[in-house]
Amino acid sequence: MKPPILIIITSTIILGTMIVLFSSHWLMIWIGFEMNMLAIIPILMKKFNPRATEASTKYFLTQATASMLLMLGIIINLLHSGHWTISMIPNPIASTVITIALAMKLGLSPFHFWVPEVTQGVPLSSGMVLLTWQKIAPLSVLYQISPSINPNLLVAMAATSVLVGGWGGLNQTQLRKILAYSSITHMGWMAAIMVYNPTLMILNLTIYIMMTLGTFMLFMYNLSTTTLSLSHTWNKLPLIASLILALMLSLGGLPPLSGFIPKWMIIQELTKNDMIVMPMFMATTALLNLYFYMRLAYATALTMFPSANNTKMKWQFESMKKMIFLPPLIVASTMLLPLTPMLSIMD
């Protein structure tokens, strides 16, 4: 894509999310969502194959439906409260409709069906933007209306998301689908804590974005989209192989890596509110997630897959990709656990 066009489109995406984050008028928020959605379609269509077209169409349809539902919720809220300001939503119907619309935008179960297919159809860099930047806007709206969301709805969606994310990713070998199911699971964790402590949702989002950005960048370094091509990393860049191991363990939420921070804090907050079965259930189903991360880590770093002989010669070619932000991201995704008391800055 020509640079001027790329600049315009990227700035529209960023502007759209910024409008959602900074406005207090419901209509402006809706406009921000629409700008964001329309501008990301060309990013999703970077490659002109039918797969990408199908993925962008699915994305557009689901997001447009969600925006329409959002508009419906906004109008019902206007009818019952008489103002356009975003704040608590006293009316339960409006609050439910808006929550469902935002869940559709996020890819929370049971509205998760678009996430794997869209993520799989687009190139790695577009998938990266899709799974990280696009989550910021809906979550910020949910943050602002969190006192009035129906807790039962949200907890039910969280529980099913964690289950779906864990189970769905078990049979995958395509890396983008694995990351899509991982995103569904993490959204589930964020939704679970939203009712009790929205600050922790922001913490989970931050750490999730860092880890997912790091993972995507490592995959882009290898230009690999399947487990098989990832397994050739040991020859090309052995350091990347060990970093993938660390990042996969962090995504799975194993201490002492920083992926454990959100899980720990969320379980603490949930137990403070006397929910015992829910965190136990979520923590145990997160182990399903850990299984397929471990499978990736095994394939990359801990074993050497059988490969043809010419893949063993790849060390001779130097990699030309520049990944400037990769080292800080990796450090942030794995070594932040001792800094957990600094959470207070999140408020």
């Binding site: 052995p238 720990w264 136990m280 923590a283 182990l287």
Partner: protein, 459 residues
């Protein structure tokens, strides 16, 4: 405490900056120095613990385990030299880094003052162990072994996290010093039963309890020698140590909640000892013997009498040294004939007489010969369970007999009799190997002179 933690952390730059022919010497020497420093912690106050900071402390229960952990690192490094000699330099350094990282987490776990810190480090020890087993094990089964190890432990310990956080909300703090004054007796309800289960299951899986022990033969057998040593000697004791710490919270509920686990342990003790009699794989025999000894520790911790706690602590230290020694001996066999099958290397007493002496002493300590500390541990546990219920003496007696049977079976099969016909060349014992066995046995035998320091806080 920092005077142990920082030098251990600094062992990592030491390995990466050493000259290629000095990595083993440097790390072994400095880790021996660190273990010398940790010996000062054995000087415990009789009625209190040594509190070093807000985060770390040692008392008479954790100090022997700490010394065992630091003592084991130089031994692990010595044992690994042979099978890593053919690897590239970076991989050797990575292996040592994994061992040192594991050591660091273990030291912090045994000296943690707060239960949440203990939990985080308990889980953190899983990661380097997993890498060691999966990356440097020798057979294809190691992949499965690593997964079993990781997932069995995690499924047990995630409810523990929830239970600990719930308890912290109720009590205010999980600091060990404060906990002993703030605990209230657990009421007799379903929810406190689930709390008890959630707290204990993680440690039961780690110990392991008989029904949940499936990960142990896999992990012990597939791990390289350093992995087997640290698994058998220290990681199993994490479970026992954790159980002893957490039973302070779990009030009078343990009296009847413990029954199913006592049954499983008492029966499992005999079952796993009997399985040892039918093993062909040497490492698998030692792994099942570990399950059997740890079942004794579970029984001791669950009946919660002063004598049983003393016996459990002594048994943990004794078994740590003995099991690690047996794995080193099995590894010396493996390095020569490249097979773990017992019958492929028989009659070694004529070929390697000094090694046969170590085999004899190892088997004798494994079957708890007086006056070793193994006997002290087992005897205290047997007497305590007899006072808890008279019938258990039959089970315990049967177990002691079967333990003696399989230990002697192992000794006789590998050492006595005619040498096998097909083995043409067995290298003579290296000084390194003899030093390794001696360094294992020396603490074991010297402790029988002064067992007071491993008898735990009740003494």
């Amino acid at each position: 405490m920092l005077k142990i933690i920082f030098p251990t952390m600094m062992l990592v730059p030491l390995t990466w900056a050493s000259k290629p022919n000095m990595i083993w010497i440097n790390t072994t020497a400095y880790s021996l120095l660190i273990s010398l420093v940790s010996l000062t912690y054995l000087n415990q106050l009789s009625d209190n613990s040594l509190n070093f900071s807000l985060l770390f402390f040692t008392d008479s229960l954790s100090a022997p385990l700490l010394v065992l952990t630091t003592w084991l690192l130089p031994l692990m490094l010595m044992a690994s030299q042979f099978h890593l000699s053919k690897e590239t330099l970076t991989r050797k350094k990575l292996y040592i880094t994994m061992l040192v990282l594991l050591q660091l987490f273990l030291i912090m776990t045994f000296s943690a003052m707060e239960l949440i810190l203990f939990y985080i480090l308990f889980e953190a020890t899983l990661v380097p162990t997993l890498v060691i087993i999966t990356r440097w094990g020798n057979q294809t089964e190691r992949l499965n072994a690593g997964l079993y190890f990781l997932f069995y432990t995690l499924v047990g310990s995630l409810p523990l996290l929830v239970a600990l956080l719930h308890t912290q909300n109720n009590l205010g703090s999980l600091n060990f010093l404060l906990m002993q004054y703030w605990t209230q007796p657990l009421p007799n309800s379903w929810s406190s039963m689930f709390l008890w289960l959630a707290c204990m299951m993680a440690f039961m899986v780690k110990m392991p309890l008989y029904g949940l022990h499936l990960w142990l033969p896999k992990a012990h057998v597939e791990a390289p020698i350093a992995g087997s040593m640290v698994l058998a000697a220290v990681l199993l004791k994490l479970g026992g140590y954790g159980m002893m710490r957490i039973t302070t919270l779990l009030g009078p509920l343990t009296n009847f909640m413990a029954y199913p686990f006592m049954m499983l342990s008492l029966w499992g003790m005999i079952m796993t000892s009997s399985i040892c009699l039918r093993q062909t794989d040497l490492k698998s025999l030692i792994a099942y013997s570990s399950v059997s000894h740890m079942a004794l520790v579970i029984v001791a911790v669950l009946i919660q009498t002063p004598w049983s706690y003393m016996g459990a602590t002594a048994l943990m230290i004794a078994h740590g040294l003995t099991s690690s020694l047996l794995f080193c001996l099995a590894n010396s066999n493996y390095e020569r004939i490249h097979s773990r099958t017992m019958i492929l290397a028989r009659g070694l007493q004529t070929l390697l007489p000094l090694m046969a002496a170590w085999w004899l002493l190892a088997s004798l300590t494994n079957l708890s010969l007086p006056p070793t500390i193994n006997l002290i541990g087992e005897l205290f546990v047997v007497v305590a369970t007899f006072s808890w219920s008279n019938i258990t003496i039959t089970l315990m007696g049967t177990n002691i007999i079967i333990t003696a049977l399989y230990s002697l079976y192992m000794l006789i099969t590998t050492q006595r009799g005619k040498c096998t016909n097909h083995v043409k060349s067995i290298k003579p014992s290296f000084t390194r190997e003899n030093a390794l066995m001696a360094l294992h046995l020396l603490p074991l035998l010297l402790l029988s002179l002064n067992p007071k320091m491993i008898l735990g806080p009740i003494y």
